[in-house]
Amino acid sequence: MSDASGATSGVTAMGRFLANLREIPKTFRESLVRGGAPTTDRTRSSFVFGNVFLHLHAVRTHRWSLRWSTTAGLGIMSVAAFLITLITGVLLMFYYKPYPDAAYVSIKDLHFVVPTGRFIRNIHRWAANVMVVAVLLHMARVFFTGAYRKPREFNWLVGMGLLAITLGLSFTGYLLPWDQLAYWAITIGANIAQSPREVTDALKITEYFDPGGLQRLLLLGSSDVGEEALIRFFLLHVMILPLALVALLGVHMWRVRKDGGIARPDDADARLGPPPADTYPVFTEAPQKTYQIAAIVKGKTPAVGKGPENTVPSMPHLFYAEMGVFMLTVLICTALALVSDAPLKELANPNVPENPAKAPWYFLGLQELVAYSAFMGGIGIPSIVLLGLGLIPYLDREKEGTGLWFGGPGGVPLVLLSTVYGFGTAFALEAFAIRFGWIREWWPDVPQLVITAINPGTVLTALYAGFSIWAVKRWGSTRAGALALFTCFLCGFILLTVVGQHFRGPNWVFYWSPSEWPGH
């Protein structure tokens, strides 16, 4: 203060006060964005690393990462959909009451009374669906471009955690309206959690060892689906899972940067061609020394032995692209919300199940499997799939084809073959089970453990595993096996979901079309 007065000698304190007052917009802006306007490469850099949110990204982005075909913007679309659900979800909490019956009435109020309530609820529901789709497609993108490989193995695991939380958020949200759909979905969900009893009962050890019963008890907080269960699902939906998701999301995005950005092939620079004339390179000559910030950064710096970096400033190139994806996501969600209302059935009735009682679409593949064996469909096969997905980056240590779509041994022909095989076997098994039934119909006295072990779900899993092993041998590559397995499971998931969604009617009986359902 005393120094400043020297520079402005001759001006009264009151004059300085007024001058400072006038300059508040400018000085506030300067204090907010410390580096000044992002007009030069240097200020663009400080714009990124001086901001706690933006600095999850690198200061400069490789031109390969900015190509539409590299990522299709799916990761950012997932984040955008999550932010939309976050904002609309908080708005819905103004009116929602997590208590049986009152919950249903409050959703009705939102739907019919609250200004824009129906619109906000619709956006919330559609954004949740968009998020599930985007997360699944994002995972497929990362898999098919081989982007899970070293050094990105751990981030693949973080991504799997995010997928699980996304599905958990969707499922817990499904219960909150306390309508028929919600009540019976939760009854089924809680009993799937209890389904290890299918095995412990058959072994007659439930009395001593009952993980299924404990899971159900922890989930419901009671022996029945009631107010305790609703409060628990509400807590999971609005507090525990969103917090976990935000934390993991931060790690996920930060690690993308720390693992060297989006995966790209070694010859990405050659494939891209020379950078545009106005791109200012970071290094004008290739550094030949191995620079190391000892004890902080392990290994060689990525720039060693490479020519001028093919990067552009993240501000504006990356951020404008992300803004575009964000706006597209908002557009999709609001457009769908205008066209289609979120469902609300009758008030939950514990004595009359919804018929058919269908889970949200992304769980219908599981529900199809559950209709053969509760334990295998609900817990066994999902665990096998999750374990297999988690092991992929540790089993596939190859380098060939990283960063390229369907890269690696086998390539596109293998993926096409796997698609045909994956759809074909799933279709054949479903058709067989629908036409001829399964073991229980042929031999009613067969022990439950046999059915738990051998049902369409486990047979399909075994067929896929066998095909994958064949691919490993045929191409002499674990990447080929991974490509085969992932493609097969993706196809199986799609086929089972479609069957569950469109071809299952009352009593889970097969119908060619919902128009053939008997009235009830």
């Binding site: 019976w184 009854t187 089924i188 809680a190 009993n191 799937i192 389904s195 299918e198 009962d201 058959a202 404990l214 008890l217 922890l218 907080g221 009671s222 022996s223 029945d224 009631g226 107010e227 305790e228 628990r232 514990p350 004595n351 009359v352 199940p353 919804e354 018929n355 058919p356 009682a357 529900q367 559950v370 209709a371 053969y372 064996s373 509760a374 039934g437 229980r440 119909e441 009613p444 439950q448 059915i451 738990t452 009352p506 009593n507 889970w508 009986v509």
Partner: protein, 158 residues
């Protein structure tokens, strides 16, 4: 690298006290965190389960024919009467907990297609076990069903 050359050159040293204390502190912290987590996990598991009473009283209608199920309103139990006595079969599907409905010759589940005979045994579908029989006692002219008490199939109140 330095540690291997050191150990080959010298006799094995006892662990320095500082290292020992540091490790002990770390393990103590880990143990107390695990212990605290166990305590925290006890909270969501209620000692007393808040649920309505599982026992209810019911009078069978006079017109109930032998072997015909009678489902008291609002209950998920089917009561039967035959020449050997009265018995109750749960109508909660053993697969995933939906309420089974009466079908032509037994029960059918709307959720995943399980079918049961009238005595609760599985006819087809994914249900792993038969519908349980429930304890029935007599109270004056009516019957008391205890949904929390499973009895052996075939147990009738005579």
């Amino acid at each position: 690298m330095t540690t291997t050359s050191k150990s080959s050159r010298l006799d094995p040293e006892p662990m320095p006290r500082r290292d020992f204390l540091g490790l002990a502190a770390m393990w103590a912290m880990g143990a107390s965190a695990a212990f605290a987590l166990l305590g925290i996990l006890r909270l969501p598991r209620a000692a007393v389960l808040p649920a309505p009473s599982k026992k209810f009283k019911v009078a069978l209608p006079e017109s109930l024919a032998d072997g015909e199920p009678f489902v008291p309103p609002g209950r998920s139990v089917a009561l039967f009467k035959d020449k050997d006595g009265v018995y109750a079969v749960s109508t909660i599907c053993t697969h995933l907990g939906c309420i089974v409905k009466q079908s032509a010759d037994g029960f059918a589940c709307p959720c995943h297609g399980s079918e049961f005979h009238k005595d609760g045994t599985v006819k087809k579908g994914p249900a792993p076990t038969a519908l349980p029989w429930l304890a029935v006692t007599k109270d004056g002219g009516s019957f008391v069903v205890d949904e929390s008490k499973v009895v052996d199939p075939g147990t009738r109140l005579t």
